[in-house]
Amino acid sequence: MSARRLKLVYFAWVRERVGRPEEDVDVPEGVDTVADLVRWLKSRGEEYDYAFENEGVVRAAVDHLHVKPEASLGEAREVAFFPPMTGG
């Protein structure tokens, strides 16, 4: 298996901590779940360490659907990370 390309998008203070609203990344083999993806991102630089310093807080969505950390990335094209929502 080869690396896969994913679009990552960030919102609110997760976006501010990562320092960009979105990016395309080539994810290596072995990154199968959302939790794997977070772990891999944290190895890439301190801005990710900062954004995900409290992993239980940051929420994720895969292709516009809320998911839990153990969710498989499957055929995902877009993964979003954001704080708990405060709309309404």
């Binding site: 998008v9 919102f11 609110a12 203070w13 969505a61 516009h64 659907l65 809320h66 979003a80 954001f82 704080p83 708990p84 929502m85 405060t86 709309g87 309404g88």
Partner: protein, 151 residues
């Protein structure tokens, strides 16, 4: 029944949405509306800024609306959520439900707001009266509990 879902920067008119729900129908006995507005928090705020996740916001509100329509016999359902900078006193969100009976209309509107608060990808940031940008509003555990209470 097809829910009306809109994500927009512009203001909305609760009156127009109520009228649209009931138009030309004689089987609606109850219409409930919830309007959420920006408070100034005792003069502390100049505005709230609402960030959202385009695409997912529409999709998630659609899923929440479909769930409400599955649980209650609704004749009409409208959800409108604004984004951008919203001054005190201005509208943020509208939920309107129409049904033959009042209990369904009340419960569905309350459910929609509880679910929307914890599932719709919107984030509020404070702009302070002194001109500075304040912090992101924190989510409350109470909102999570209310949403979970619907099972």
């Amino acid at each position: 029944m097809t829910p009306t879902i809109r994500i927009q920067a512009d203001d909305f008119s609760a009156a127009d949405e109520i009228a649209a729900l009931g138009q030309g129908r004689a089987d609606i006995g109850a219409v409930v509306t919830f309007t959420g507005l920006c408070r100034d928090e005792g003069g502390r705020l100049a505005a709230l800024e609402l960030e959202h996740y385009p695409g997912m916001a529409e999709a998630e509100l659609g899923r929440v609306a479909d769930e409400a329509a599955r649980r209650w016999p609704l004749h009409g359902l409208t959800v409108i959520h604004r984004y951008g900078r919203i001054p005190p006193g201005a509208n943020i969100v509208l939920v309107a439900t129409a049904s033959a009976h009042r209990i369904a209309a009340f419960e569905a509107a309350s459910f929609l707001m509880d679910y929307l608060k914890t599932r719709a990808p919107f984030w509020k940031r404070e702009h302070l009266a002194d001109g500075t940008v304040g912090g992101w509003v924190a989510a409350t555990a109470a909102d999570d509990e209310r949403a979970a209470g619907w099972g």
